[in-house]
């Protein structure tokens, strides 16, 4: 089957009425949480995971995916109108978008952001579709040694691209790996680290861990900092950008899409990094860099396209290799596992409807978002009036109900509190929770591949360097580690994240 017949199959799945409805719900929810500061896609997806168990596998993943890319749209709306990025990936959009709004070009900035996102979303859908098959074919030749090295490479690059201390991110990954293997050892049936607690003999509840680390810990941090919503909304006169603005946006949109698509594939990448990199690139290429920060349309068009393209292409390693590149993908892997699907290269052959349905739904979801966002922008801004004191009890109560409903298990609900405390305490010590969650998901996989590889290699670790693909991945990982540890590059990397 070629690309287009695959996409046709995907379209037929994605246009199924119930999938359309859940795609719409996902996009709508995504927009909503994108607008509301203090509620991120990771926490929302974690919260909604339990609800998706009753849905068909493709329907549930379509909805969860919609939340992720929908949040990229919603986040830009408040960034432009209020200088309040609803999502971290929209933080750079606020720099020039808000200035455009103050110059009376609010409608135009919103339109450019939405058009850029839509173009990026459309092109990225094709990128995902085109890359999926060759990568899957490659992955099918992978043995345990290759998988082990790939996971290792993924974990290391997720540190390289994250911000903050290298050692702390590394420690969080290792801690996550350890927590991930709590439960019964599959090879020998021995309970590990269960301390006699029956409820964790199958492992620590993944949804509870995610909700605790991202939802609960985030709420406490917001209560501490105080979520501010004040600010005057700029008036929107016309949604039509001028001809000149459109012409200036074409190249940044295309460059942003390309950059976002590439950075999204890399483990640890995704929307956030893509938007920052695109802003830096546009500023460097611009003939008038002095306009950046004063309402340059390129500073909106580039990053907004990049974050949407990045959000979408980060599905590639997840769908083809079963390796999550960021915390949201880790959650979607969790959702697939709970649905009884083993993530990895077999998904495309054994579940073609699921695979192509998700890809096609991304494009449909992007079209829905374009309609949802532009005409309804006034309505979305009104949502900002919901006070945080109403919002946070809802988040935590829904999380508790959701986690309890899976197995009517009170212990899993208590786990939320334990990981909420852990997540908050570690965040206080400048340790980001995302690497821990990645480690948690990858821990059992990493151990299983290590054990299998060592059996194949008869106890000699040389197997990892004797097999060419595995050796290549390890060299890449080592090179990456070397680059991170070079202090000069460190300073440069930090500079990308500190915008003036």
């Amino acid at each position: 089957m070629d690309l287009f017949s695959n996409l046709a199959l995907g379209l037929s799945v994605a246009t199924d009425p119930s999938n359309l409805i859940y795609c719409f719900i996902g996009a709508l929810l995504g927009t909503l949480i994108g607008i509301l500061p203090g509620v991120g896609p990771t926490a929302t997806i974690a919260m909604l995971l339990p609800i998706t168990f009753s849905l068909a596998p493709e329907t549930s993943i379509i909805m969860l995916a919609g939340i992720y890319y929908g949040a990229q749209y919603g986040g830009s709306t408040t960034a432009i109108l209020l200088n309040l990025p609803g999502e971290s990936s929209s933080a750079v959009t606020a720099i020039d978008g808000y200035q455009m709004a103050r110059n009376g070009r609010a409608g135009s900035a919103l339109a450019i952001a939405a058009i850029g996102s839509f173009v990026a979303g459309t092109l990225a859908t094709f990128v995902v579709a085109a890359f999926a098959q060759p990568l899957t074919r490659l992955a099918l030749q992978f043995g345990p040694a290759e998988y082990f090295s790939l996971i290792l490479f993924g974990l290391i690059s997720s540190i390289a691209l994250a911000h903050g201390s290298f050692l702390k991110a590394l420690a969080m990954i290792v801690l996550g790996l350890l927590m991930g293997i709590v439960g019964t050892d599959l090879y020998t049936g021995t309970p590990r680290f269960t301390f006699g607690i029956l409820e964790i003999s199958d492992g620590i509840d993944f949804v509870a861990v995610a909700v605790g680390l991202f939802g609960v810990a985030e709420i406490v941090r917001n209560l501490e900092a105080g979520v501010s919503r004040e600010g005057t909304v700029s008036a929107i006169t016309s949604l039509m950008p001028t001809r000149e603005e459109l012409a200036r946006s074409v190249k940044p949109i295309l460059r942003g899409t390309g950059l976002g698509a590439v950075l999204g594939i890399l483990p640890g990448g995704g929307a956030l990094l893509a938007s920052f990199a695109s802003y830096a690139l546009e500023k460097k290429l611009s003939a008038h860099p002095e306009q950046f920060g004063r309402g340059a349309v390129e500073g909106v068009a580039g990053p907004e396209s990049a974050n949407n393209a990045g959000a979408q292409s980060s599905f590639i390693p997840m769908l083809t290799l079963g390796i999550p590149s960021n915390a949201v993908m880790a959650l979607i892997i969790g959702a697939m596992v709970i649905q009884g699907i083993v993530p990895g290269p077999t998904v495309i052959t054994q579940q073609p409807k699921l695979f192509w349905g998700i890809i096609a739904s991304m494009w449909i979801g992007n079209a829905m978002l374009l309609v949802l966002n532009l005409p309804l922008v006034g309505l979305w801004v009104k949502m900002l009036r919901i006070p945080y004191s109403v919002l946070f009890p809802a988040i935590i109560v829904f999380s508790a109900i959701g986690v309890y409903s899976v197995e009517s298990n009170s212990f899993a609900v208590y786990t939320i509190s334990v990981f909420g405390l852990l997540g908050y305490a570690l965040a206080k010590l400048d340790c980001e929770p995302a690497p821990l969650l990645l480690g948690f998901v990858l821990g059992p996989m990493l151990e299983e591949q290590l054990r299998r590889a060592m059996i194949v290699g008869r106890g000699d670790p040389a197997i990892f360097v004797q097999r060419p693909i595995s050796a290549g991945l390890l060299i890449a990982a080592a090179a990456l580690l070397f680059i991170i540890l070079l202090p000069l590059v460190r300073q440069k990397r930090d500079a990308v994240f500190v915008e003036d």
Binding site: S54, R192, V216, V220, E224, I396, V397, K428, R451, R458
Partner: protein, 150 residues
């Protein structure tokens, strides 16, 4: 002495390394490199975590780091208590009464909340949750539990 972030982080990771490492070393057979036992991988990871923790501790002491800062005690306590209250009462009290109680505890996390808002959010959120989870999604949670006289 004020608590430094890096010192505490280093100590925390060393603590986790000891917890996992010692448990694995004393209770789980490590096996050989060819046939790894359930203890092999955890011991490897614990050793690594301990070393990283030590490195964070040492660099933190040498370079110095920021102090931890204040903790919103009331908010933290109320937020962490919320899931526990729900987990402990949902089977006994049923969804309605348990949610009223749970939401109220959650609302107490906000230091500035007024009694009227608290009441409104509690009742509103309970009704909303029952409508969504019980009626719309059909989750198998009873509305009233055996602890109630009804």
């Amino acid at each position: 002495m004020p608590l430094k972030k890096d010192t505490l982080a280093g100590l925390a990771f060393i603590g986790f390394a000891l917890l996992f490492g010692l448990t694995a070393a004393t209770t789980l057979p490590a096996g050989t490199a060819t046939r790894m036992g359930p203890g092999y991988f955890p011991i490897l990871l614990s050793g690594l975590l301990g070393l990283i923790g030590l490195a964070i501790l040492v660099t933190g002491i040498l370079a110095g780091s920021q102090t931890v800062g204040s903790v919103p005690r009331r908010g933290l306590a109320a937020i962490l208590a919320t899931p526990i209250v729900f987990g402990a009462t949902v089977a006994g009290l049923g969804m309605v009464a348990s949610l009223l109680l749970t939401t109220m505890v959650a609302c107490l996390a906000s230091p500035t909340i007024r009694p009227r808002t608290l009441l409104g959010v509690t009742i509103g959120l309970t009704l909303f949750s029952v409508a969504v989870f019980h009626y719309a999604l059909g989750l198998n949670l009873s509305l009233f539990g055996p602890w109630l006289p009804v």
